[in-house]
């Protein structure tokens, strides 16, 4: 089982789907209440899923989806159809979730350093990596294991977790992530690499032994 999170580009859509989307957007621009309800019912679940992935709290996720649909109404006149509708809505949901995250009380962030690999003076790995010998498909086959890995992601320092989620899970580009987080692209790359390394450290025991 694998859920595709980033929809195909608009140009990849069949012509029929493109015309359905164009008609929907025209109705939304005309402030048609039935069109808005149809949009909420058709795309709201996917937007809620995005918010759940990023916020990891059901109440916050639902609030973010409400905020996102307010943004949709504000932005609908500016939607030019360059992107697929679902891609546009995905970005709005991500943004709404990030706004909610920024409203949370700030906590002092733990350093990520203890989870990063260490090296000897000659540049060799201090603790040479061992082959895991199991695929992600095999290890994450069980729901309980997926929950454990989500917990490990949640426990990454927040500024690293967000970059990892936007890049590797929401599948945003480096440029999109940098723009959303108001960071340079090089800072996004550094943070993503460290976040992956830290998560890899947490996963090491799970994958090496297959034990939780």
């Amino acid at each position: 089982m694998s859920f595709m999170r980033t929809p195909p580009k608009r140009a990849d859509l069949p012509a029929d789907d493109r015309s359905v989307e164009a008609a929907m957007m025209a109705r939304l621009r005309g402030r048609d209440p039935a069109a808005f309800e149809e949009l909420v019912r058709r795309h709201g679940g996917a937007m809620l899923a995005v918010a759940r992935r990023l916020l990891r709290n059901e109440d916050d996720a639902r609030d973010a989806v409400q905020d996102a649909f307010v943004s949709v109404l504000r932005a609908v006149d500016g939607f030019r159809g360059d992107a697929q509708l679902s891609t546009w809505l995905h970005r709005i949901a991500v943004n709404a979730a990030l706004m909610r995250l920024r409203q949370r009380p700030r906590q002092t962030e733990r350093t990520i350093d203890p989870l990063l690999p260490q090296f000897l003076e000659d540049g060799h790995q201090m603790q040479p990596a061992r082959a895991w010998g199991q695929s992600a498909e095999e290890v994450l086959d069980r729901e309980e294991t997926r929950r454990t890995v989500r917990q490990m992601i949640d426990e990454l320092p927040e500024s690293y977790r967000i970059v990892l989620q936007l890049r590797d899970i929401e599948e945003l580009s480096t440029a999109e992530t940098a723009a959303l987080l108001q960071m340079s692209e090089s800072a996004v790359k550094v943070r993503l690499h460290r976040a992956r390394q830290a998560l890899r450290t947490r996963l090491d025991q799970l994958f090496s032994t297959g034990a939780l």
Partner: protein
Amino acid sequence: MTCREVFEFLADYTAGELPTAQREVFERHLSLCPPCVAYVESYRTTIQAGRKAFDDPEFAPNAPIPEELVRAILASRSRGENS
């Protein structure tokens, strides 16, 4: 190239963004260093594991939207129009 340098270039390598000359040096190191091969493979698996971790129905694009949330969104739209 040392193991430390392999780790520095790892993200670009896995993204296929390492220039050819650097990639060749990188892969030459891998051909001589089983621990770095193990790390590169586990780094790739980590990326896949992050994605797989959210392969549950509540995080899926076809997740249903609760009816009470639909009603709340429609009500907030009406409030917005009337304010």
